[in-house]
Symmetry: C2
Subunit: 130 residues, 2 copies
DNA sequence: AGATCATTTCGACGACTGTCAATATGTACG
DNA sequence: CGTACATATTGACAGTCGTCGAAATGATCT
């Protein structure tokens, strides 16, 4: 490892900044979060994706849709106890993030989970189970 | 807020809500997101945790700390191009979320990644790799 | 075309978030 | 104890977010 050196001396930075990147590292699995250097753009993108999930209503949305396999939007306001426009708003965020897929059937809109996308996000988090 | 889903008509709900348990379902692995029913509390908690990660500055923070093994707070304002109070604020959010661990060494504060916590979050996302 | 119903978009509002300068707290050393 | 420096907290401000009612759009059936 770098040099923790319990000793408290002069500037500790010396050993912390660059190193480790390559050397040590017990073979990180995936690319992003735990990878070497996350670019500003990559960070923005990952943050945007995570923001799409980081809301209780949207998490329940994903959960309900996943549990049912597919769900008609018409049932969601009651299930989530939110107004219909609010539900529509959350749905559009999840679709934009690629987590849900929308399909029009007659006058109803149905939603399915994109499991691959969830897997991607998992991997981006540096999935330690690879 | 009338009461939808009751039907005098050919409401599509009929087949959507309960299902999955029904047939296919290739044995979901982990508990939370893709599990049966996410409680309101569970959703709030997961959302809180994800919110902690859903910010570009904090993602870079995690990335930098992970890459270095451990990092002195004193280096971070420069690396992240943010003021010292701002960095301190983000650090405290990550520590509160359990993603980073703080250790005082002399006058410096050092931060390490809690990889187990990240793994937990991954699993909560319904990690399809289990 | 007109009627009806599902969904989206618009407008507004309160709550929360990221940011920094200024100040406070804490830690070590003389 | 007092000084010096690292980090945390406070206060303020602009921007974003979640929410809903109202209105617009889209779809189907007569």
């Amino acid at each position: 490892m770098a040099t923790p050196a319990t000793a408290t001396d002069s500037s500790p930075s010396a050993s912390s900044l660059p190193s480790t990147a390559t050397g040590t590292a017990e073979a990180l699995c995936c690319p992003p979060l735990l990878g070497p250097s996350l670019s500003d753009d990559a960070a923005d993108q990952l943050a945007t994706t995570l923001k799409a999930l980081a809301d209780p209503v949207r998490l329940k949305l994903v959960n309900v849709v996943a549990a049912a396999g597919e769900t008609c939007a018409c049932d969601l306001p009651e299930i989530l106890d939110r107004s219909q426009p609010t539900v529509s708003h959350h749905l559009s965020i999840l679709v934009k993030a690629g987590v849900l897929e929308r399909e029009q059937r007659g006058k109803w809109a149905w939603f399915r989970l994109d499991r691959d996308r969830l897997t991607q996000i998992c991997a981006a988090l540096g999935n330690p189970d690879c």
